[in-house]
Symmetry: C2
Subunit: 206 residues, 2 copies
DNA sequence: ATTTTGACTTTTAAATTAAAAAAGTCAAAA
DNA sequence: TTTTGACTTTTTTAATTTAAAAGTCAAAAT
């Protein structure tokens, strides 16, 4: 049975997340979170030593559920291309839900804490690791010719990331249609890219 | 024979370019350019109505020589992949020379004039057009299977652009080695991508 | 004892203002 | 026709203030 502290902590995390989703990290204050919970802002300090640690905790939660969904999706699909497209789908749904955390307030955006930045890089690493392992499995299945999975996966991810949503060019809020187009392009790229790796593997080459 | 005005105009453009290369558009003033030419800043206004028009003129010159080099390079290489890699080379050399114009001063960077922005988009269009036409010619040569050249070229360029140098992440000045790695990655992507197109386009679905 | 809070200090961000520098104008001189 | 000195206007930058949020702590409440 959960101790009281843990429950309260989770309530705070939940309330914070709700604020963060709508207003971003920097535009959310402790007193706002506290007001939502009918407590005083000082109480939060009993559970979290500072704002950074609360933000980190929230980010960790999101990332964990992201990775979880990713793995579920991959396990539910067959074939390398379909698995990779599945990754795009998961990314798409998370982006639509949490893009405000990436955008935050336009001007503020660059000053994320070192911690958060380290975190972000860690995430990229994990994604890369997942894709690499899928590549290797595809090679074992004979679905893909032998390649330097590390290098190839890294190139693919970089290529996809370049297609990422650019919050500076667009008008603040990403609209559903251009996001859809973006993710469709990513999927198309995956198809061509993997086909390129397969080379003669297709049974119907002339 | 060139009239005097044209010569002087070109001198100003040249001097401005030299300043721009080192300090960017925003950190360069008319009086600095004038000082370099031993004239007063007001004289520049005789040739250019305002700063924007001088910048535009300089940018036009660079872009023109860029496109020129691009076409030369393409005409000198054989085979779609080699031509595309040639494009990367030209882009690389121009970037190394003119990256300051893209970076400018970090904070100032976002406020380029509308004109310059339109210009930039125009350049992207032209590049796309070139790649599309190379795709079509490759198809005619039988080097490539029939595809929607427009769409495919656009996906390739987007994928490549994502791999672009990100001046916010790095530490200001792009170092030669990481640029080299970047452009090598771009070339690798091109190889895989085109290879993918060569056996992908046929409707051989299972 | 654990948790919460009021009263407080410190830090950081936002707004205001003042000063400086650059952009741009124009009539007169070269 | 081209250049310049003397000028005004606009934009940047820096300095100052103000407000708000972050963070501390001892006392009160549960």
């Amino acid at each position: 049975m959960k101790p009281d502290t843990t429950i309260k902590e989770e309530l705070i995390i939940e309330a914070a997340l709700n604020r963060f989703i709508h207003f971003g990290f920097n535009k959310t204050t402790f007193s706002e979170i506290a007001r939502d919970l009918n407590i005083t802002q000082q109480s939060i300090y009993y559970y979290f030593p500072d704002k950074k640690s609360l933000i980190t905790k929230v980010a960790e939660n999101i990332m964990a559920s992201f990775l979880e969904e990713l793995l579920v999706k991959i396990s539910q699909t067959k074939g390398l291309v379909e698995k990779l497209k599945g990754i795009v789908d998961v990314k798409a749904s998370f982006f639509e839900k949490y893009f405000m955390l990436a955008i935050d307030h336009p001007k503020e955006n660059l000053r994320d804490s070192d911690e958060l930045h380290r975190f972000y890089l860690e995430m990229e690493d994990k994604q890369l690791a997942i894709v690499v392992s899928e590549f290797n499995e595809a090679i074992e299945r004979g679905e893909l010719k032998k390649t330097d999975a590390d290098k190839t996966a890294s190139i693919l991810l970089k290529a996809l990331s370049s297609m990422q949503f650019d919050y500076k060019q667009q008008h603040m809020i990403p609209d559903h249609n251009s996001l859809r187009e973006l993710f469709d392009n990513q999927k198309e790229l995956i198809t061509i890219f993997i086909s390129g790796l397969q080379n003669h593997a297709t049974p119907c080459s002339n």
